[in-house]
């Protein structure tokens, strides 16, 4: 016996830069089954109702970080959010908050890419090392110090959850600062002094007012709020330690 076909209303915030002055809401009636994600609902719209709808997606399994959207006002990965949880109410879908809308559900993430570059997200060796010296060794405890913070998939849900980023686009923000922390905590890395300049800067960690919503919405349980707030302490330490060690810490 086939299940009775259910239909849910999906309200999408549309924006076409060539024809629209401001975004507007458009409602689609989408037939769905209980195993369908919001992403599949949006794909149904594109395939059968309106081929002009634009959105990003790739893996469908919460790994690629492409399909983040505001779903009923909450930053969510649309691939792991299910239509059945909203039925019979209407589900509202909008591009990630706090980012400029390029078109429909597609945001402009150039600012984030620049921030990602600015934190030097790679290991800066403490000293030059030859091949003959072999590989770096790391204990499980040393791995533990940063592993959680390395799980970020750059989905930008945390930025859409951060009102301080919404109010000040210069704020380096949760994901980039978390990745910065990940490298600073790595026992193989010697780049902390360089990265602390960004942590301490005007656009650094002190923009954060500990709202904490970034960690709430993170699909990978990275806890960016923790990384950012730990670096407030690190920044204060960095500031006071320079009086004890004039040549250490920040330049």
């Amino acid at each position: 016996m086939p299940e009775q076909q259910k239909t849910i209303e999906i309200e999408v915030l549309r924006y076409n830069p060539e024809t629209d002055q401001v975004p507007y809401a458009q409602v689609f009636a989408v037939p769905f089954t209980d195993d369908m994600s919001v992403l599949q609902g949006v794909q149904y719209i594109k395939d059968y109702l309106d081929g002009s709808l634009s959105f990003r997606w790739s893996c469908r399994m919460a790994i690629c970080g492409s399909c983040g959207m505001m779903i009923n006002g909450e930053p969510s990965l649309s691939c792991q959010t299910f239509l059945r949880d909203y039925y019979p109410e209407r589900v509202r879908v909008e591009a990630l908050a706090h980012f400029p809308i390029e078109r429909d559900l597609v945001i402009n993430m150039e600012g984030f890419i620049e921030k990602l570059e600015s934190i030097q997200p790679y290991i800066i060796p403490k000293e030059a090392r030859t091949l003959a010296q072999g590989e770096y060794l790391q204990t499980p405890a040393q791995l533990n110090a940063y592993e959680q913070f390395s799980s970020c998939i750059n989905c930008l849900l945390c930025y859409a959850a951060c009102p301080q980023f919404g109010l000040n686009k210069d704020f380096v923000g949760p994901a980039a600062l978390t990745l910065l922390h990940r490298y600073n905590m790595d026992s193989r890395d010697g780049g902390q002094a360089e990265r602390m300049q960004l942590v301490n800067a005007e656009e650094g960690v002190f923009n954060c007012t500990a709202v904490g919503y970034c960690s709430e919405v993170c699909p990978k349980h990275v806890d960016p709020a923790n990384a950012v707030n730990l670096n407030k302490t690190n920044s204060a330490m960095d500031y006071f330690l320079r009086f004890l060690a004039p040549k250490g810490g920040t330049k």
Partner: protein
């Protein structure tokens, strides 16, 4: 020519758009009650320094219905502030490792609330004993 024209959404009323932000704003707002209560206590200290008559005047003022109303309101506000403060604490402190395992968030929040409760009770009992 580029057809790009990225649309920037306004931030007006951002804190009303999500219950999480509303809670955050109430949390931040209740801090004003903490400051107001500290001001009341500081003012008492000032009156004490000004002599017995001033001090007794302050004590009498505390007994007015307005003052009792304020204190009840401040108690509720500070209680909420303490609760939400300890709720965010696991996100703001370094991980606590006990016996090789990381202490879960609820244990940190619960521990903080228990410590705050115990300190309040101790202070209450002490002051009650002194006042008798």
């Amino acid at each position: 020519m580029s057809k790009r024209r990225p649309y920037v959404r306004p931030m007006d009323g951002w804190w009303r758009k999500n219950p999480y932000f509303v809670e955050y704003m109430i949390h931040e707002g209740t801090a004003l009650f903490v400051a107001a209560y500290a001001a009341v206590l500081l003012f008492g200290l000032l009156r004490l320094a000004q002599g017995e008559a001033a001090w007794n005047g302050w004590l009498l003022a505390l007994k007015s219905p307005w003052s009792i109303g304020f204190h009840l309101l401040a108690l509720a506000a500070i209680g909420y502030h303490a609760y939400t403060w300890f709720k965010i604490m696991p996100r703001t402190m370094p991980p606590l490792v006990v016996g090789g395992k990381r202490l879960p968030a609820w244990a940190i929040t619960g521990g903080g609330l228990a410590a705050a409760g115990a300190a309040s009770l101790l202070l209450f009992v002490l002051v009650w004993g002194l006042a008798r």
